[in-house]
């Protein structure tokens, strides 16, 4: 198994090797020996039941959680090495610069309420990347235009709908030109009608070749956007497929079949009088 993974390592934007994640005072491993690669320009979708470790996986990659085993590498360079006993260590000490290479969008948007739309998007490029203000503003407006929100540049986050906020949050991550973009159930808090406008943006990004790892419960979206798909359960990879179409129609494992069936409904029969 490991050999195959090493082979595909060439050209991987992000590699995760034997990742172990454990919380303090918890016997069970939240992530146990998780390994995969995300090739450059590809979209990996991670699905699985609640509590399977999907979000935790993204959080470890983003450096928000310390890992207790394994490695995370960005473009071939190891950025995180797991050490046992680091359960309470807090966030990774990785550099500001390195953090800008991995973008993350949260379920709850997490725009900064004390900044306007433009202020939110421009903050990190100005403070962290020390880029030229005029250039950053130009790019911010361009991004806003792409997500259809150019006219909201001076709005405050509280004036926007959830779907609009989430599109702004995506712009805020994209302006840093991250090698990998992590999307953590970004539509889970949205009304059905707003889900579409956000997912359209993500599909556009996928077409443009943005490397992404997406955690989602939207199976139809997963099917539309995934180049590869992982089913995670209890911190283990149950099935890893680079043929999403096949995964959704005839998955290899029984577990995947049962998981996918939970998203299907049959018409309830009426009681015969």
């Amino acid at each position: 198994m490991t050999d195959i993974v090493t082979e595909t390592n060439n050209g991987a934007a992000l590699s995760v090797r034997n990742l172990v994640k454990q919380y303090a005072n918890a016997g069970r491993r939240v992530l146990d020996d998780v390994s995969f690669d995300v090739p450059k320009g590809r979209v990996l979708v991670v699905v699985g039941p609640s509590g399977s470790g999907k979000s935790t996986l993204l959080r470890t990659i983003a450096g928000l959680e310390p890992i207790q085993g394994g490695e995370i590498a960005l473009e071939g360079k190891v950025i995180e090495t797991g050490k046992p006993g680091t359960e309470k260590a807090g966030r990774s000490a990785r550099s500001s610069e390195l953090r800008t290479h991995i973008g993350m969008v949260f379920q709850s948007y997490e725009l900064f309420p004390n900044k306007t739309v433009l202020g939110n998007i421009m903050m990190a490029p100005l403070l962290v990347q020390k880029r030229d203000k005029a250039e950053v503003e130009r790019e911010a407006l361009e991004l806003l235009g792409k997500v259809g929100l150019a006219d909201r540049k001076d709005s405050w986050p509280h004036e926007l709908s959830g779907g609009q906020r989430q599109r702004i949050a995506i712009c805020r991550a994209l302006i840093l030109h991250p090698e990998v973009l992590l999307l953590d159930e970004i539509t889970a808090a949205l009304d059905p009608e707003m889900v579409r406008e956000v997912l359209d943006v993500v599909i556009g990004l996928a077409r443009a070749g943005q490397t992404m790892i997406i955690v989602t419960h939207e199976m139809r979206f997963a099917r539309a956007v995934a180049d590869e798909i992982i089913l995670l359960e209890d911190g283990h990879i149950v099935e890893h497929s680079n043929d999403p179409e096949r995964f959704f129609t005839e998955p290899e494992t029984d577990r995947a079949r049962r998981f996918l069936r939970t998203f299907e409904f049959e018409r309830a029969p009426h009681d015969q009088q």
């Binding site: 709850s108 900064f112 990347q129």
Partner: protein, 224 residues
């Protein structure tokens, strides 16, 4: 309107205003200086170090448990004796009010900082902001908004508590009022109420704008 003429006596209003100036000066210096102290104390209270937190806790509890009057006497008489540091009455007042305001504001700052969800600082982290940048640009501005109403309340409490300065012999607005009443006891026996009425009005004029500003800002930030 019996006794109201006392207010028209030459020197009465100017002296009251002078007294008011002393009150406002002590209060303003104390409130303004409490802000950096409070921010520092509040920030220290959120740190992980147990030693720092315990020290801050002791400071806050000490200031809270002691009556302000006792603190004033401690500063006025105690400092001279223990440290050979001869604070004048006004200085002692300002010192005590800064320590008091700083402690109370610190606790407000701590509460406001801790009320900002952790994920906001995570959001700053993944964007590459340093801890300090995240604190200054993301957490602190939000916390300041949240603690505004309570801190204006604290400021008006400080203004009102400056009247204790009388007991150290500071001639602020209430002391001036008493002096005027005493001096005119026989000429205007009913002047007392008028003088205190004016003093009430003066306190109101000082504290009211504070609450107006607070209400305005609150309204402007209400939706965040």
């Amino acid at each position: 309107m019996q006794g109201a003429e006392i207010l028209l006596q030459p020197g009465v209003m100017p002296r009251l205003l002078q007294g008011l100036w002393v009150t406002v000066w002590i209060a303003a210096v104390s409130v303004i200086a409490s802000v950096p102290v409070g921010l520092l104390v509040g920030w220290l209270m959120t740190l992980k170090s147990r030693v720092v937190r315990v020290l801050m806790r002791i400071y806050l509890d000490f200031i809270r448990i002691m009556p302000q009057l006792a603190l004033l006497f401690l500063a006025y008489y105690g400092f001279a004796r223990w440290f050979d540091w001869n604070l004048d009455a006004t200085g002692a007042c300002v010192l005590v009010f800064i320590l008091w305001g700083g402690a109370e504001l610190g606790d407000l700052v701590r509460g406001a900082l801790q009320s900002i969800p952790e994920i906001q600082s995570e959001s700053a982290y993944v964007l590459g902001l340093s801890n300090w940048q995240g604190f200054v640009h993301v957490i602190l501005p939000q916390a300041l908004r949240r603690l505004l109403p309570a801190s204006v309340n604290l400021a008006t409490r400080i203004v009102k508590t400056t009247s204790l300065a009388v007991l150290l012999g500071v001639v602020e607005v209430i002391k001036v009022g008493q002096q005027i009443i005493d001096a005119n006891r026989f000429q205007y026996p009913t002047g007392t109420l008028w003088i205190y009425g004016v003093i009430f009005f003066m306190y109101f004029i000082v504290c009211w704008p504070l609450s107006i500003v607070a209400r305005r800002l609150e309204k402007r930030w209400a939706n965040d």
